[in-house]
Amino acid sequence: MSDLIRASLDHCVKCTICESFCPVSQVTPLFPGPKYAGPQAERYRGIGVSPDSSIDYCSGCGICTTVCPQDVKIAEINSRARAKLWEERGIPLRNQLIARPSVLGRLGNPVAPLANWALHNRAVRSLVQSVIGVHRDAPMPRFAGRTFQKRSRTHAGAADAPAVVYFHGCGTNFYEPILGEMVVAVLEHNGFRVIIPRQDCCGLPLQSNGNFPAARSYVRRLVANLAPYARQGLPIVANSTSCGLMLKREAHEILGMDDEDLKAVSGSMFDLMEFLLGLHDRGELRTDFGSLPLTVPYHAPCQQRGHGIGKPALDLLALVPDLDTIELEVDCCGIAGTYGLKKEKYEISMAVGKRLFDDIRATGSDIAACDSETCRWQIAHGADVSAVHPVELLHRAYGLDTNGSRRAHAGAAGRRERSGS
C-alpha cells in the first residue's frame, strides 16, 4: 500500500490543478505548492536526506488530493515526506505537545478554571509563545471541566432500539461535551440506542506533526475498542470530520496501516451528517423540525471534503423550515488542525482564512456552521461569530433538550474564547 501511494506520483501529469487550489501557497512563498513539494520533490527523496524543508509549511489540509483528477495522493505523499523530515531532524517539543489532545485534555480538565484562565491570559500566552512556540493569538478552546465520557456514563437510552456507535473524538470529550449530548439526543430522537465506547485520540494530530509511530499506536488502541462493534455490523458515527476521515482512509493511506481491526472500523465509519442523510434517503429520518428563522453560512471543512460524500449537511439543513443556509465557497479556514497554532504559521493560517472570514462577515449572520472543531474555533476567532456544528441546528430545530442547558451553549465556545483572549 505504502508503495502504491508513492507510485501514484507517476500519474501526475503536472497539470497544476492542485497548485491552483492550494490555500497555503497562494498566501506565502514559503510553501512552493503541492505539486512541487509532492510528486516532483518526492523523486529526490528516495535515499538520503530530504532535499529541502519547505514541506513543513504544507498545512496538510488535503485539498490537493481532493481536487486531483488523476488520483495522485499528493497530500499523503507530502504528509509522509514531512514525517521523514522530522524523523531526520527530531520533532520539536511543541509539536509533540500540541499533537496529544487527549493528554492535554486529561491534564487540563481537572483544573479547567485555572487552565482556561491561563490559556486565555495574554501574559501567559506571550510566555507560552516565547518558550514553547504556540502563537499567543491562536484560537484555543476551553476545557469543559467534566468530560463527555463522564457526563454520558449515567445516560441510558431505550434498550430495545437499534444501536449506533458514537465516536465522539477528543474535541467533544474535553471541550464540547454539550455537542456530544446533542448528537446523542438527535440520534435517540431518530430511534437509536447510542453506544459510547471508551475511546482515546485517533492519532491524527501526531500524524500531521510527523510522529507516525505514536500515531499508529493511538490508532491501534482506538480501533481495538471500536472493531468489536463494527464486526457486529453496527454503524459507527463521528461528528469530527477529520477524526472520522482518519479512520476511514488516512490511517491506511498515510500511516500505511493494514490491521484487520482498522479495516473493520473503516468500513463501518460514517460521518454524522452522512449517516443522517442516509437515514433520510431511506425515509427513516424524522423530519418533525420546527421553524428556525436563521440565516447560517455553512463551511464544509477540508477534511469533510476529503470524505468524498458531497455536503450532506446542506441537504439536512434544507429540511428545516425557515432556515436559510448559505454555502460558503472558500476552501480552507487556515487552521488545519494544529498548523495555525504554531507561532511561525499563525499569520499564514489567518491569511488563508481571511477570505472565509470576510465572506462570513458579509452575510451579516452572527452564527456559522462547520463540521470540524478546530475549524469552528478558527472561524469563531477570525470572523467573530458563534461557530456551531450543523447537528446543533438540527437539534435546535427538533426542539430537543440535553442534560446541559441548550440555550446557554448556543455556540458559545467561540464567543467566550474571544472575550477571554
Partner: protein, 427 residues
C-alpha cells in the same frame, strides 16, 4: 440520494450540462474524481480554430468543411443551431465574466509566447487583446512571475501572420515584495484582489504607455474582482487593458470554474468532488442507480439520467494500457476510433494530429454512447466533452467549443429528446 440527472465530471462539459439542467428545474448532482481542465485552459471558448494548417476566420462556415472531412466528429452529433444557441446561452449565463463573440467570426488573441490564437468567445478581461484590427500594444511583465516574458511575446508577435499590422513592445516591472523569489499567479491574483497591486501598477505605468497603446498583462488580475480591477486600470491609465493567457494554473479558468459552480450551488445542484463512479445498476437498458465510491464506503445514487463528461486520456476518462488497448474508465463503454492493429497510432510530431486522439465514445444523435452496431448502450446515458470520439482538439482548437456545445446538447437531449435528433443534425 435521488436525482433527475447525475453528471460524471466537473470540467467544462459537465458543468455546462449541469447548469443547463439545473436552470430548467432539474435536481442535479455532479460526481467527479477531481476538478476538470478549466484550471488548465485559458477560459476562452474555441469552437474551431484550425482546419488542417489553415487558421479559421469563421467557425460557422468552416464547420461544414470539417464535417465533410470528418463525419464522425463530435460536432456532427449536434445541430448548427445548438452550437450557436450554446454559445449565446454561455455568454448570457456567464454575464459576470463578460464573454463576447460568436460562431460567425473568431477573435485573434495573443498567447504568452506571441501566437495569435483563434477563439469564438473570450471573457471581458481578454477582449482588449483582439489582434484582428492591428494596432499598438505594450506587453507588461511582472518580474518573479516565470510564466510570462513580455519581450518574447512582443518579438514573436512582430513575426506572426496577422490580418492587420501590429506593433508590440515589452516592459518588465518589479512588483513590490517582502522577499525576492518566484511569484505564483495565485499570489499575484490575490494581491490584485486586495487592490494593493492595482495602485502600484498604475503608478509604475504612469507616463510609460504611449498614446493609442493597449496594455497586455499576465492573466493574474484577481480571482474575485478581476472585472473591477480591469475597469479601474483602464480608467486610470486611459488605455485598453487586457490579459494574455499563459501556462496553468489558469486564473481566468479558475474564475470560470468558480462562476459556474457558484451558479450551480445557487440553483441547488450538488457537487461531490473526490468521489469516483464505479458502476451502475441497469434494468431493461435503463440505468437506475449509480455506485459512487468515497473515502471508505460506496453509496448508491438513484437517477433518471446520466451524463458522462469524464474527459479523455488527459483527464482519466480514457486509459490506454501497455498493449495498446483503450478503455472507458467509468462504465466500460465500447471505445471507438482506436486505430486498427497495424495502423498508425502515433505520428512523429508531438503536436501533430495523433490518430489515437480521435479515440473516445461514439454516440447517436441524442449523444448516447453506442455499441458496435450503433445502438445506445443505455437509453438514459448521454456523453459530452472530451470523452467523445472523433476530434483532435488541440490541433483543431476545438476542445472547449465541443465541451460547451455537447454539454448544452446533452441537456437538451434529456429535457426534450424529441426536439433534437437525426433531423437536427448537420452530420
Amino acid at each position: 440520494m435521488s436525482y433527475d440527472t447525475l453528471v460524471v465530471g466537473a470540467g467544462l462539459a459537465g458543468l455546462t450540462t449541469a447548469l443547463r439542467l439545473t436552470e430548467q428545474g432539474q435536481k442535479v448532482v455532479i460526481v467527479a474524481r477531481g476538478v476538470g481542465a478549466t484550471h488548465l485552459a485559458p477560459a476562452t471558448v474555441d469552437v474551431l480554430g484550425y482546419l488542417g494548417e489553415e487558421r479559421v476566420d469563421s467557425p460557422a462556415s468552416a464547420l461544414t468543411t470539417l464535417l465533410a472531412d470528418v463525419p464522425g466528429h463530435p460536432y456532427g452529433r449536434v445541430s448548427r443551431q445548438q452550437i450557436g444557441a450554446s454559445l449565446e446561452w454561455f455568454c448570457r449565463r456567464l454575464e459576470r465574466l463578460g464573454y463576447a463573440g460568436g460562431l460567425d467570426h473568431n477573435g485573434l488573441f495573443p498567447t504568452a509566447i506571441g501566437v495569435a490564437r483563434p477563439s469564438a468567445l473570450a471573457p471581458r478581461t481578454m477582449l482588449g487583446g483582439d489582434l484582428r484590427d492591428g494596432g499598438r500594444f505594450l506587453f507588461v511583465g511582472l518580474r518573479g512571475f516565470k510564466d510570462f516574458h513580455p519581450s518574447l511575446l512582443a518579438d514573436n508577435l512582430a513575426h506572426a501572420r496577422l490580418p492587420a499590422p501590429v506593433m508590440a513592445r515589452a516592459l518588465e516591472l518589479e512588483p513590490p515584495a517582502e522577499r525576492r523569489g518566484d511569484l505564483s499567479g495565485r499570489l499575484l491574483a490575490r494581491r490584485f484582489d486586495s487592490g494593493e497591486l492595482t495602485d502600484w501598477l498604475v503608478r509604475a505605468l504612469q507616463g510609460r504607455v504611449e498614446a493609442e497603446e493597449r496594455v497586455g498583462l499576465p492573466p493574474v488580475l484577481g480571482l474575485r474582482r478581476a472585472d473591477e480591477t480591469l475597469a479601474d486600470l483602464e480608467n486610470r491609465l486611459e488605455r485598453h487593458v487586457f490579459e494574455v493567457p499563459t501556462l496553468p494554473p489558469s486564473i481566468p479558468g479558475m474564475r470560470l470554474y468558480d462562476t459556474l459552480t457558484a451558479a450551480l450551488r445557487k440553483a441547488g445542484a450538488r457537487l461531490v468532488i473526490n468521489a469516483a463512479v464505479v458502476g451502475a445498476q441497469a434494468h431493461d437498458g435503463q440505468i437506475e442507480s449509480v455506485q459512487v465510491a468515497s473515502a471508505a464506503t460506496t453509496m448508491s445514487y438513484r437517477t433518471h439520467s446520466v451524463v458522462l463528461a469524464s474527459g479523455g486520456f488527459a483527464s482519466g476518462g480514457l486509459t490506454l494500457d501497455s498493449r495498446g488497448a483503450a478503455r472507458e474508465t467509468v462504465f466500460d463503454l465500447p471505445v471507438a476510433g482506436v486505430p486498427e492493429d497495424g495502423a498508425t497510432r502515433f505520428v512523429a510530431g508531438y503536436f501533430d494530429a495523433q490518430p489515437l486522439s480521435r479515440a473516445g465514445v461514439a454516440v447517436d444523435d441524442l449523444l448516447r454512447p453506442t455499441d458496435r452496431d450503433g445502438c445506445p448502450v443505455y437509453r438514459n446515458l448521454h456523453a459530452a466533452g472530451a470523452i467523445l470520439a472523433g476530434a483532435v482538439p488541440w490541433k483543431e482548437k476545438s476542445g472547449t467549443g465541443i465541451s460547451v456545445a455537447t454539454g448544452y446538447a446533452a441537456a437538451d437531449a434529456i429535457l426534450a429528446p424529441s426536439a433534437v435528433g437525426v433531423s437536427g443534425s448537420i452530420g
